[in-house]
Subunit: 286 residues, 2 copies
């Protein structure tokens, strides 16, 4: 899916909601548990019920891998079930040396039909670039995440002296910033606004305006609304740009809205509330 197609979907439907399919077999409602393919059945019903309220689905690969082969099968059926009007995210946090990242890119972009994959930046350029080599596919790089551990490394003060030639003289200007700022700056040399997004956690709302300044036109994938406590209003006020520029994800708050037989209706109701709020923020942009 191209950027133009994604933006068109967002403004046509008036929503930038992403529904996170972090499907845990232990949390599936009782009446579905005995189903031979319970995880897929659950996802299918959630997708059917929420399609009109969202523009994207994020599949958290960990929950499927934890079920072994059966889980990988449910993941594959799920991504193939999502209509191509909706942007699909493999939330996989992959990243390894170049020849290995090439294999991960194959896994999500060739063996599976995902539009995008989340990637961890620690290992640098050659661990990220293989994902960027696919026409119409997206890399969503971890920037500043929503979890408490974001403080451990992502927010460290960093610096680097770079030898450059200015008017024939070698100088060593110092580049400074938080680690995640280095990631934002470096990655914009590797990818473009048309194939690179950043993960920015909703719980970082205080810093959203500054983070937006680091990448004014890129899309941000924002997890952490709902169960993790981030505010949709704060994020939207600080980080929407002219082409929206946000995909806001809620997982548990939507898919586990009810434990009963009405789980899909309740999921739709919560997704609908988010979408209703988003519509007003999008209209304010005009």
């Amino acid at each position: 899916m191209t950027r133009a197609q994604l933006v068109e979907q967002i403004f046509q439907k008036g929503t930038y909601l992403c529904v996170g399919l972090d499907t845990d077999p232990e949390k599936i409602p009782d009446h579905l548990r005995s189903h031979p393919d319970a995880v897929f059945e659950f996802n299918k019903r959630i997708i059917d019920a929420t399609l009109e309220h969202c523009v994207a689905y994020k599949i958290n690969t960990a929950f499927y891998e934890a079920q072994g082969l059966k889980g990988w099968e449910a993941l594959e059926r799920t991504v193939r079930y999502i209509p191509d009007t909706h942007f699909t995210i493999a939330d996989a946090k992959r990243g390894d040396i170049g020849n290995t990242s090439t294999q991960y890119a194959k896994a999500f972009f060739e063996a599976l039909p995902f539009n995008s994959v989340t990637v961890a930046p620690y290992m640098g350029a050659d661990s990220v670039k293989p994902f960027l080599g696919y026409e119409g596919k997206w890399t969503i790089l971890l920037g500043l995440t929503s979890n408490p551990g974001a403080r451990d490394f992502e927010l460290l003060d960093c610096s680097r002296s770079t030898d450059i030639l200015v008017d024939g003289v070698h100088t060593a200007p110092k580049e400074t910033g938080k680690l995640f700022e280095f990631v934002f700056r470096a990655a914009q040399h590797w990818g473009s606004e048309g194939n690179l997004m950043f993960v920015v956690g909703a719980t970082q709302a205080d810093a959203f305006r500054q983070i937006r300044a680091l990448a004014p036109n890129h899309f941000f994938l924002v997890p952490g609304v709902g169960a993790q406590g981030g505010s949709l209003r704060d994020i939207s006020e600080q980080a929407l740009n002219a082409e929206c520029g946000l995909l806001v994800n809620a997982s548990r708050a939507i898919i586990y809205a009810s434990e009963g037989e009405d789980f899909a209706e309740e999921a739709a109701a919560i997704a609908g509330q988010y979408a209703f709020e988003m519509k007003s923020y999008l209209e304010a942009l005009k």
Copy 2:
């Protein structure tokens, strides 16, 4: 596998070689390709041929995921085939917020019987700790990797001021170091020498003595020997400790030693050369 058991295996067999099963279906010898389960067949023969020369096998998950369901199946058959005398590594570079990392730990330690998994540190403490909660299982955290991209972030100069009370007075001493040094220091508060190792790339041989000083007793998993150009002698001289403390991995140099029907014998020959050299370094420790 406990630390004592691993150390016993190393000294009993006189080797700290890890064989990396980065099995790419396109590189499997012709005569095996038509086999219905070619990847597993290839791995099985490599394992049978190299068992006596190594103490560990590292399965690079990317190569299996790239094959979809069939790949995940080959991965599972392979890890179950490795005898429990040998340490098994899921080279998966996982890491996500706490509740998601818990699912990844389940994937590799419960759904699959791996002894260890490689983990990316970017997201901090709560992304790493779930892996450390399993008795007899190991977390192998990325420290300083072997790829060119290691320079982008891992080698940044970092600092953090921490507010602490000294004799009733608030002071803010500054902790400084490269990013990977922060990772080494922080992680040693999360795990112990009995459940935490670090990845240190063989191509970083110049820095090995300093890196060893950061974690004198921890095991290091050292990829990058062979195809990536790292020197076994340099690494061993600088980083062996009294209990060995090293698992040195070679993947392509061993498993693709020959493209012919003799691939397993050739793999054994190369593995045997590494093991022969390692034996002399281990004997020099006594």
